[in-house]
């Protein structure tokens, strides 16, 4: 088999002019003495001739132009992805910038919210500046009632006062400005001895929740101080900057409920 393929290779190389003179002589000798090899050589020659005789075709005449166009197109395509990539890159960069800015904004907002929660005090009732209940006990309910009435009238607080008569007690509710209430209390101070006892109940709000503060043996001046706490000393600049809130503070209404109750002995 190996010999067969060797002879085939030798015959093909002979046909193609790829043999040395010695090998050519060898092939001539083989062909001359072996008819089978001679026939095989003939067939190989014909196969080769058949392939070689296939028509020689011309390439398209505009091949050079086509190549030129293809090169130009390729150059354009090579540039285009770069441009696309560049645009994509710019878009990506812009997205990252916007995303970073948004993230920063959210972070600042969250931090501000946290700081606000930590720093700001618990909210108090803003609707009214002060609300309290003053319970006065007296042996002479009528006399005390008259004193209260007079002070209300002398301060022109009739419209701000509401009177409720109950058994053994009269309840006055005063809703007015701090200034008016302070004046009212100052006028009442002179008659404070008429009361057997004076107790102030103030509802306030702390971090733990609402709390009732009870002040026994309170006097008019103390109540006035509670209603109008002393203002801190401010610089001129600070005064200007907080002027409006201060006015607003003064303009807030205060409410004092005065309960005048007759002592048990009086009954």
């Amino acid at each position: 088999m190996k010999e067969e393929s060797d002879i085939n290779e030798l015959l093909n190389s002979f046909l193609d002019g790829e043999l040395s003179e010695r090998q050519k002589t060898e092939v001539h000798r083989l062909v001359a003495h072996d008819m089978e090899i001679a026939k095989r050589l003939k067939k190989l020659q014909k196969c080769s001739m058949l392939v070689a005789s296939m028509p020689y075709e011309q390439a398209p005449l505009d091949m050079a132009e086509q190549v030129k166009t293809a090169l130009e197109r390729k150059a354009l395509l090579a540039e285009q992805p770069f441009a696309i990539d560049e645009r994509r890159g710019a878009r990506h960069l812009m997205f990252r910038k916007v995303f970073a800015a948004a993230a920063m904004f959210i972070l600042v907002a969250v931090l501000a919210a946290v700081i606000y929660i930590v720093v700001t005090p618990e909210p108090t009732r803003p609707a009214i500046g002060f609300a309290g209940r003053l319970e006065l006990k007296t042996n002479d309910l009528l006399a005390v009632d008259k004193i209260i009435n007079n002070v209300i009238k002398s301060n022109g607080l009739e419209d701000s006062a509401n009177l409720e008569h109950q058994r053994d007690k009269n309840i006055y509710t005063l809703s007015c400005s701090r200034e008016n209430l302070s004046t009212f209390l100052a006028d009442l101070e002179n008659s404070w001895d008429s009361f057997n006892s004076a107790t102030l109940f103030v509802e306030t709000h702390t971090h733990q929740g609402p709390m009732l503060v009870v002040v026994n043996g309170v006097d008019a001046k103390q109540i006035a101080n509670l209603i109008t706490p002393p203002k801190p000393k401010l610089t001129a600049e600070e005064k200007t900057s907080i002027e409006l809130p201060a006015q607003a503070q003064d303009e807030k209404k205060v409410r004092l409920t005065i309960v005048i109750e007759a002592n048990q002995a009086d009954n």
Binding site: S5, E18, S53, K74
Partner: protein
């Protein structure tokens, strides 16, 4: 044959140098010089005019793109043909199934006349005139079909040898194989070709 190859090589080296300097006219001359030869070997390997034209164009595009890196270690001629053959072999491997089914469909179309002519051609003891064979359309069609039935690598050596007329050494350079491999592959290819042609007669 040998002196012609040397002349081509000398001309090519000048044209290649001009191309490397960006001379578009030299590029065009190289294309015009080789376009028919490259087109022909591609056409014989893929048997489709449109594909052959496209592959030829692709070959020259690649040649021009790579010409700056061509250092002249091999001749431009074998370098260019290596590009062409590699592109065509890749193309053939991608389209092998389609091509084979197409050929099977055509097999039954061989009429009695073509078979008769082939029988006479193969059995004739005298040496036929190649020009007469070339004019025989039926025989040429059978040759194309036989060639297409060969294995791609066998087809490449047959085409480079019998169509392009390359020496074994040049074929070895183009296909990047040993000289002995060229010899044995060509021998097997022609043997297969003979068997295929004889199968048309049965």
């Amino acid at each position: 044959m040998q002196p012609e190859t040397v002349n081509i090589s000398i001309d090519d080296s000048i044209l290649v140098q001009q191309c490397q300097r960006g001379d578009s006219e030299a590029m065009e001359r190289l294309i015009r010089k080789y376009q028919n030869r490259i087109y022909n070997i591609i056409l014989k390997m893929c048997a489709n005019h449109d594909d052959a034209a496209e592959l030829t164009q692709e070959t020259f595009v690649k040649i021009i793109e790579k010409i700056d890196g061509f250092q002249g270690r091999s001749s431009f001629y074998t370098w260019a043909f290596r590009i062409a053959v590699n592109l065509t072999l890749n193309y053939c491997q991608r389209n092998v199934k389609l091509r084979l089914s197409s050929l099977d469909a055509q097999q039954d179309e061989h009429d009695g006349q073509a078979r008769q002519q082939l029988k006479e051609f193969l059995s004739d003891d005298s040496s036929p005139d190649p020009a007469t064979v070339a004019q025989n359309k039926e025989l040429c069609e059978l040759a194309v079909k036989s060639l297409m039935k060969l294995d791609e690598n066998q087809k490449a050596v047959v085409v480079l040898r019998d169509i392009e007329g390359m020496s074994y050494a040049q074929i070895a350079e183009v296909l990047d194989i040993e000289l002995g491999t060229v010899r044995s592959r060509l021998s097997r290819a022609r043997n297969s070709l003979r068997e295929i042609l004889e199968s048309f007669l049965s």
